[in-house]
């Protein structure tokens, strides 16, 4: 967190209204999001109890297990969820377009699926359900329908994508909201979707304080799950499950099941509505300029993973091998740095954060030498000098590379930093993006008097040797691990 975020929280608490943290929305929002509101049975490891799923706010699909303690019923649940999710995934994969003209163009899906869950625990549900189903066999003993295993592979992919800072594949509503708005309560309280939404969209005619108080009462606002409210468990769920187990006739069983379904729907419906309202609120915020490009990359990732699955790719391993973990860490770091930089370049409130911490400065150009050339390897190169006067507290040193967000991250090197009476004078040498000509292309060098911003925040790209495969794991990291492809033992994995 930063001073600006903390200030926004104080302002929100003082004004009893939400405060913007960013000028733009940096999250892509699909025109056809898929929402999942899951519930699990307390005490078990991710035993699905029910889920509300779909892309149509008015007509959610309701999936309720017939008996959450039974393995076969959990498989049934997974199968029904698979029917809901694999269809939009397949539909999206069918509609492709070339990445560009020319013969080297690849195919890319026109739009990729995007899943919303209420909170981070919902992402955990997706991950664990993926783990539960992806290592099943689709033939032989313990076989499951192919769609169940495919669901596992896809849920795992979505959950893994959600680890990336720039994810657009699987989104927790609380986190997407917290990226845009500060409320006057702590992050911990913001983790409760109902309490967070009480600040952003209190019920008609209710003030924020009353709305928050209502939202914190699980009897009035059921928890957003997947864990259910203990009082609900004791008063309603436990008796219903008992009746379900003791129902002697199919008719009695379905009567109890209808009752169970109704009560679970009542628990999920408010959260379902809140997630959709959250999406609507976010849609009203202007999208940041670099969002479409990021989404394009996400579509590429979806396209290639779909290809992998279609070609019969293996399900993901239980844990990352040494090479896989290092590779993933590098990708997580690279995508996080890129996302941070892109947010800063796009959003004046985000760059303000960096200005406050001394990693960026804004000011006026007070001196320009636009035609300066210095000797290069073969011939002299254009290296204009720009001097900026700023009143920001700069913590950047000489030789530091900085970038100009307004000129697509044009690189400059700080050549001197001098303190003046009312701030700092910073001299920069521009490095690139000025065209190949004798003089700089128009607009590529700031003009005298122009307001400019520079920051040290940048995307990083590191060239490296290839990461070792499992078989190449060196002795320092334990050598090649035993084979990890799913075995019958995994398929036989007990579920209760």
């Amino acid at each position: 967190m930063t001073v600006l975020t903390s200030l926004a929280k104080a302002l929100a608490a003082y004004s009893m209204g939400p405060q913007r943290l960013t000028v733009f929305r940096h999250q892509y929002i699909s025109s056809k999001p898929i929402v999942i509101v899951p519930l699990t049975l307390a005490g078990e490891t991710n035993a699905p109890l029910a889920a509300m799923v779909g892309s149509d706010r008015a007509r959610p699909t309701l999936i309720v297990t017939r008996q959450p303690r039974e393995r076969a019923e959990r498989l049934q649940f997974a199968g029904r969820l698979a029917s809901e999710l694999l269809f939009p995934i397949e539909m999206a994969a069918q509609r492709t377009q070339p990445t560009g003209p020319g013969p080297n163009a690849r195919m890319r899906v026109v739009d990729a699926p995007q899943i919303w869950v209420p909170n981070p625990a919902g992402i955990e549900f997706v991950r664990t359900l993926g783990r539960m189903t992806r290592l099943r066999q689709i033939e032989g003993p313990w076989a499951v329908p192919k769609k169940v295993r495919d669901l596992g592979i896809w849920l795992t992919w979505f959950a893994e994508q959600a680890e990336f800072a720039d994810t657009g594949a699987l989104i927790a509503a609380t986190q997407a909201l917290a990226a845009v708005w500060a409320t006057g309560q702590s992050d911990l309280e913001d983790g409760n979707l109902a309490a967070q939404m009480a600040w952003l969209d209190p019920p008609e005619g209710m003030d924020v304080a009353s709305a928050v108080s209502r939202a914190e009462n699980p009897q009035l606002c059921p928890p957003a799950g997947p864990t259910t409210d203990p009082t609900f468990d004791r008063l309603f769920l436990e008796p219903a499950l008992r009746d379900l187990a003791s129902a002697r006739t199919p008719a009695a069983h379905s009567a109890v099941h209808r009752r169970l379904t109704a009560m679970l729907e009542e628990q999920m419906r408010p959260t379902w509505e809140l997630v959709w309202t959250a999406i609507d609120l976010l849609l009203e915020v202007t999208e940041a300029p670099r969002v479409p490009k990021r989404w394009e990359q996400q579509r590429d990732r979806f396209t290639s993973f779909h290809q992998y699955v279609a070609n019969g790719g293996n399900p993901q391993a239980k844990r990352d091998s040494a090479g896989r973990s290092a590779h993933r860490l590098a990708e997580l770091e690279q995508r996080m740095a890129a996302f941070e930089a892109q947010r800063a370049y796009d959003d004046p409130l985000v760059i303000a954060d960096y200005r406050l911490t001394g990693e960026a400065f804004a000011g006026q150009v007070v001196d320009v030498d636009a035609t300066r050339r210095v000797p290069g390897l073969r011939r002299s190169v254009l290296r204009p000098l720009v001097t900026v006067a700023t009143s920001d507290q700069v913590h950047l040193d000489v030789d530091q590379h900085v970038y100009d967000p307004a000129r697509n991250g044009q690189q400059a090197v700080i050549t001197s930093v001098n303190e003046t009476e009312d701030g700092w004078r910073i001299e920069l040498e521009l490095q690139n993006q000025m065209g190949g000509g004798q003089t700089a292309k128009p607009g590529s060098v700031p003009l005298l008097g122009e307001e400019v911003t520079y920051t040290s925040v940048t995307e990083t790209f590191v060239r490296r040797r290839p990461w070792p495969t499992r078989e190449e794991t060196p002795w320092t990291h334990g050598g090649p691990p035993p084979d990890s492809t799913p075995v019958v033992e995994d398929a036989a994995e007990d579920w209760s």
Binding site: A326, L329, T357, E419, R465
Partner: protein, 442 residues
């Protein structure tokens, strides 16, 4: 009784034998602060090179590489030392030696008997070649994912590092790898040892940097399982500060105390502040400048007749970059006398050595201790850079803050557990400082 020199020599010979004659793929050497780590690295590289083999030296930062290249090239005037660098690298004047070659591709350094480069650079090498020997310096600062990339290049590797310093850093939450023996967020040595329990680290036995007054504290607080001794006696390292007459300030008092005992704690009144608390920053800068103004002299084994303390032999350390910036400004405002004092964060002071250090205590003015503050390595680096004395500046209330710190960090199964615990290390240092306190009552 053997002398410290003899003990260190015996250990060095033992390490050299274990590495070159032991037939092991990996040898680890733990080095407390100032125990002659880079000397060892230079010497082992030189011995292997002199014996006719090619040896690679891997360091973590470009400054470390430059330093090692200069040392090794001076030691081996007859052999060519290669400096593997990035494109566009300009060697500093210290490397303008006839037997140093610089190249950005290792294949352009075919005649070099010793090749030195950063771990990040070696991780880019795409040569078909492999090397029989590699010495990795500051191995505890290297992340295990980098190690993964460079291991295939070498047959036998020696890892030298200081286990008490700061662990490598990543902004990523690495929970998904917690407990894995190859957790990429862990240091190279931690992963190496976890996967190869038969490797028992050697320990360098003598700290040449730390004075006797600091060795015990640093050892008990930060290296509870190590045994090292100071290379000098109490009376071999002394500080003389000409007395001041009238208007003796608290800065003078704490300097006098530190001159006598090796430690001083200038304690300001309790207050919750911003990190860049102007009063603490000013007090820190004052102490550093007063050391110079008063004409401090240090006496040690290298200068038994005493020598004048210069700005370059003083470091001011802090936890955060904004604090460093604020102290830098405060020093600049105190005139040119302060020119040349090194002001830096703990991260960047790793491996450096000074005569006297002045430290802004990381927990000064804070309301809560965070894992960042409690990382034992941070305080360890700050408290172990000096040859003579260390003066800490901070606000009152740090022990209370530590007492109020919730002990509820998440626990992962099979996780890498590191000792000492930051909380305990911090308490040990504070307990020691409480006997060296000068109160500034504003």
């Amino acid at each position: 009784m053997t002398s410290p020199q003899e003990r260190a020599e015996i250990k060095t010979a033992e390490i050299l034998t274990a590495f070159t004659n032991g037939g092991r793929r990996g040898v680890v050497v733990d080095s407390p602060p100032g125990a002659g780590k880079s000397t060892l690295v230079g010497r082992i590289a030189a011995e292997i090179a002199t014996a006719g083999d090619t040896v690679v030296v891997v360091a973590q930062t470009n400054a470390q590489v430059d330093d090692l290249v200069a040392k090794i090239a001076t030691r081996l005037p007859g052999l060519i030392v290669g400096r593997l660098s990035r494109d566009g690298y300009l060697p500093p004047p210290t490397l303008l030696l006839p037997n140093v070659q610089v190249a950005s591709r290792v294949d352009d350094l075919p005649d070099c008997r010793v090749v030195v480069g950063t771990a990040a650079k070696w991780a880019q090498v795409r040569s078909a070649r492999t090397w029989p020997w590699a010495v990795v310096d500051e191995a505890y600062q290297m992340r295990s994912d980098l190690l993964l990339l460079i291991v295939p290049l070498f047959k036998q590797m020696l890892f030298v590092g200081d286990p008490g310093q700061l662990d490598p850093f990543s902004p990523i939450d690495g929970e998904r790898w917690s407990g894995l023996p190859w957790d990429p967020m862990q240091s190279a040595v931690a992963v190496l040892l976890r996967n190869n329990p038969d490797i028992v680290p050697h320990e360098l036995p003598v700290t040449w940097r730390l004075p006797a007054s600091a060795t015990r504290l640093v050892q008990t607080a930060f290296y509870p399982f190590s045994e090292f001794t100071p290379g000098t006696h109490d009376d071999e390292r002394t500080i003389h500060v000409p007395t001041v007459g009238i208007r003796r300030t608290v800065a003078d008092e704490v300097i006098d105390l530190a001159a006598d005992t090796g430690w001083g704690f200038l304690e300001l009144p309790h207050r919750n502040t911003l990190r860049t608390d102007a009063e603490t920053v000013a007090a820190t800068a004052d102490v550093a400048v007063r050391l110079l103004q008063r004409g401090t002299e240090t006496v040690c084994e290298h200068a038994p007749g005493g020598r004048r303390l210069t700005a370059a032999r003083i470091a001011v350390g802090a936890a955060h970059r904004d604090q460093v910036a604020a102290i830098t400004r405060a020093l600049r405002a105190r005139g040119e006398i302060a020119d040349g004092i090194r002001v830096d964060t703990a991260n960047r002071l790793q491996g450096a050595e000074f005569d006297i250090t002045v430290i802004l205590h990381p927990l000064s003015g804070r309301i809560d201790a965070t894992p960042f503050h409690l990382t034992p390595g941070r305080l360890c680096v700050l408290a172990s850079r000096h040859r003579h004395a260390c003066i800490v500046v901070g606000r009152r209330g740090i022990p209370e803050l530590l007492d109020a710190h919730p002990g509820t960090e998440p626990v992962h199964l099979k996780d890498f557990i590191k000792f000492p615990d930051g909380w305990e290390a911090n308490q040990a240092v504070l307990a020691h400082l409480s006997n060296h306190r000068v109160s500034a009552l504003h």
